[in-house]
């Protein structure tokens, strides 16, 4: 990731020039460096990927944090109320992610989002087995996980 190294270098230059060796100084330098790269090198193909990805990563982090809080409120509700209406089940989700890193990240994210827990990947890496807390419609649950996967993969590729 060449854009990232350039951005870090610009942030370090900012920190050096202002003499403000703190986390907030580094953050300001990073932001200014990103804006500079975004304005000047927008059309250079080597940097355009990085420039497009940074807002997506920020949005994904907030999306993920919201999912994490929602999942915890739901688990809290489940733990404190009777278990009668739960409909657990295990489904197989076909994977578009292929490398080890992609599959690991996806499985971790699935485990931390509402109502789903990743169990295992098949040996040929075609499917991920996921345990769902409320399995009303298997196809709908699959689509939900595929949507999550597509959001993750557009960041990694």
């Amino acid at each position: 990731m060449n854009g990232l190294t350039w951005n870090i270098m610009l942030a370090l230059i900012w920190v050096g020039m202002t003499g403000n060796f703190t986390g907030s100084g580094m953050a300001i330098g990073f932001l200014l460096g990103y804006l500079l790269l975004g304005v000047t090198l927008r059309d250079v193909p080597r940097f355009s990927g990085y420039i497009r990805k940074v807002p997506r990563v920020v949005r994904f982090v907030f999306f993920f944090l919201r999912e994490l809080v929602v999942s915890n409120l739901r688990v809290a509700y489940d733990v404190l109320t009777p278990t009668d209406y739960m409909r657990p089940g295990v489904i197989a989700v076909p994977l578009d992610a292929h490398t080890d890193g992609e599959i690991t990240l996806l499985a971790n994210m699935i485990s931390l989002t509402p109502g789903s827990l990743s169990l295992d990947v098949s040996t040929d890496r075609r499917v991920l087995y996921v345990h769902m807390m409320y399995l009303d419609d298997p196809e709908q649950a699959r689509e939900q996980i595929k949507y999550f996967e597509s959001r993750l993969l557009e960041l990694l590729r």
């Binding site: 809080v69 915890n72 733990v79 278990t83 657990p88 197989a92 499985a107 931390l112 109502g115 169990l119």
Partner: protein, 160 residues
Amino acid sequence: MTTDYVTFGLELATAVFMLVGALFMLLAGLGALRMPDLLMRMHATTKAGALGSGVIMVAVAIHFGEAGVTTRAVAITLFIMLTSPVAAHVIARAGYFTGTPMWSRIVRDELKGKYDRDNHTLDTPPRYKLKATADESTAPAPDAPSESQPEKQKPDDSTP
């Protein structure tokens, strides 16, 4: 005068984050006690445990207010979020191999019969197999898909 308000606000935020984190940890423990089977217990402990410790780390970062402590708190949160789902996966897998019973009211189990007990490989359901390999495998071993098919059918039939 204003610094009094600031310190009071920070103390209040610390206290609130500590309490919320502790509450989620308590819920994780309660979930491990109350949920009906192993997999559902892992749901409670993975999610509530990860968020609970993360929120407590936020309280720690606010209380100390130093860059060194904050970076360590962020690192701890990240590592817990990376490792707790892996632990859940390994425990669930071990539970499957040792034959821990699932809850009687489970709706669907597509994992059933897919583990090979001898070499610990995990099979893919026939509908998701690669087209090319499926065509190759039908000629030499026609019994392999037909063997896994009724296994997959069983939970579907028992549900209604």
